[in-house]
Symmetry: C2
Subunit: 116 residues, 2 copies
């Protein structure tokens, strides 16, 4: 008797389970804002966790991606041992119109100010 | 010799000290979102802490207001023993255009969905 191995699936909140407080918390961190900005610029392309150049350890990076996934900001799928990430833009734009873009704009504005 | 008592002044971040991560963290709580929504509807009028009907203890309420003040979201001034609160809309709209309104809209949308 063989037992089929269940494919590796990561837990994601359904659209109607996504809460504003959790999304804002997820975005209230400089590293996570960076990840989200990079994903937004990728315009839907899936990026692996290792693609991002982040000034943190791998375990911290994993933590940040999990926070983003569990809050409903990103979707993660396994491709072998790597995880590919994409922004859940359609869900976020439907639930919270304009929020993602205003946060991305705000993050850019702050980065620009800090560079001066 | 008399010593003049220093007026009770609360610490606030200057506009250029306000950080997006701190503002988002401040807004990532249901009670604080409620406070900010009420202040926004007051359109600049100063409201005392006791004005808000919040399902928390007084000490928790004080904590929430402090988080909002220290992050730069609200301004608090003493009037006798009470504190009057106002949204720092001009600062937030200048630093992070559209952010406050999109968060308020998102909070309203979520409240409406939950009421259904």
């Amino acid at each position: 008797m063989t037992t089929a191995t269940k494919p590796r699936v990561l837990d994601h909140p359904a659209r109607d389970e996504i809460r504003l407080e959790a999304v804002l918390h997820a975005l209230s961190d400089a590293v996570r804002l960076r990840i989200v900005s990079d994903l937004a610029r990728a315009e839907g392309a899936e990026l692996s966790c290792s693609f991002f150049e982040l000034p943190v350890t791998k375990s911290t990076r994993t933590h940040h991606f999990r926070v983003l996934r569990e809050s409903g900001v990103i979707e993660q799928v396994y491709r072998g041992t790597a995880k590919l990430n994409a922004l859940r833009r359609a869900d976020l734009d439907t639930l919270f119109p304009g929020l993602l873009d205003s946060v991305l704009t705000a993050a850019d504005a702050q980065t620009t100010r800090e560079a001066d």
